[in-house]
Symmetry: C2
Subunit: 233 residues, 2 copies
DNA sequence: AGAGAAATTATAAGATCGTATAGCAAGAAA
DNA sequence: TTTCTTGCTATACGATCTTATAATTTCTCT
């Protein structure tokens, strides 16, 4: 899980440097000076290092030098694998997007197979520490800034957003069908629910004192209650 | 109006440079080489230049050199008036926040004095080209990024957000009282509505094809309808 | 064991960044 | 007209950035 690996490795800086030191020691003993890895693996390592840098320094963390240092490699390796740094960031965005949607879908699939429980699982997971996290938003804000100015990033975003909305759409449709209420425009309604989730995430991360995650869950349930009562019919 | 001035002056670059050229010509004729302005005025000019730079280049626009060039002054002037650049950015944030809330409140006050019309005016204005604008979000996203990493910016944000929520709270309270329905926790409910607005703003700016501003208005009205039907009681 | 492919390092060049400092000059006051 | 305050310019320094290039090293494959 991409997201988890980011969180886990955030605190493993020490271990990371130990590894490097060991590597340098082993040079003196005639061992390998660096590890040669499969491009696929290295690309992912660099992508995750980029995410860690962004978590730590925000926009300032988007830098070839910092990311290379974080990954424990030299700068040239980023050029070698990604050409320009924007490509690395876009790749990191894809990793993160996929990770988040995967976390959510896994939770939904593990819930009891009723539309109510599935949607509720989706909501609760959205407000769990795994996603409802300042650091996660910090990464996302950087991405938003890039999306607005980079066609490459924008293209990725459109796909990810579409997938997300379609997922929400399915959850809402199933609920409406099961409970027998009607929704005028399901796609639009899913967009609104998505917006509510994102807006609460944003508000809480920027101002954690304003409400508690559980209250966020409640507000989403209230929204669903409005849906039940036909406000979106 | 801060926001308007940003929008207006975005297209007045040519005029701005003409002024500079004239100023330089006049040097040859022995006239003033630069204008000496009151600190208050100059600070505002620099703040608005900063906003224009952010609109144009996003995070990359936050640069002493670029902002000074945009304002038609030398770099040292920013140091002189603000000390460090973060202070200028925070000032620009305050300008912009005040401008947005002012636009909204002016619209509300100009609406017919019924709770329904006032809230609806607030909603429609939120989705008008003045605020529902890619460039405006672009500026905001940069601010969000800074808020997450700067206590100074965070302090400003807490105040602005609080004002905003209190405003929404008042609009909702008046509506509930007038129509005789109940709201469990008005502050929380106002937070949810604010989140919905921000979320829709964000979604549309990142993906303008996903829905039309009028549809955003409708989704907000639907949310209010859910409120009426007691979903937040 | 040895050769070849390519992953990785090493190094440099050129921009741009933020900030500090010293001196100039605009415009009000006398 | 002359003085004085201070807004403003001019310039420099050191750090950091991106990107390009060539040399080196690892590791697989035969």
């Amino acid at each position: 899980m991409a997201l988890l690996s980011v969180d886990h490795e955030r605190w493993s800086g020490a271990r990371r440097w130990e590894v490097m030191l060991l590597a340098k020691q082993s040079v003196a003993k005639g061992r390998a000076r660096f590890r040669r890895e499969a491009p696929e693996d290295r690309r992912r390592q660099l992508g995750e290092a980029a995410l860690r840098c962004i978590v730590k320094h925000g926009n300032a963390g988007v830098s070839v030098r910092q990311i290379a240092a974080e990954a424990g490699v030299t700068q040239g390796l980023i050029t070698h694998h990604f050409g320009e740094i924007n490509e690395l960031v876009a790749y990191a965005f894809d990793i993160m997007s996929a990770g988040i949607l995967q976390v959510l879908m896994k939770g939904v699939e593990e819930a009891e197979p009723t539309p109510q429980k599935r949607l509720d699982s989706f909501i609760e997971l959205s407000f769990s520490p795994l996603l409802f996290d300042r650091d996660v938003l910090g990464v996302w804000v950087v991405f938003w800034g890039l999306i607005l100015h980079s066609p490459r990033m924008s293209a990725s975003q459109q796909g990810e957003y579409s997938d997300y909305v379609v997922t929400v759409e399915g959850l809402l449709r199933d609920l409406a069908q099961d409970e027998g209420f009607s929704i005028g425009d399901i796609r639009l309604t899913a967009i609104a629910f998505t917006a509510l989730l994102d807006g609460l995430w944003l508000a809480w991360c920027l101002n954690p004192a304003s409400f508690k995650p559980e209250q966020g869950v409640q507000l989403c349930r209230n929204w669903v209650e409005g849906l039940r009562r036909g406000a979106y019919g």
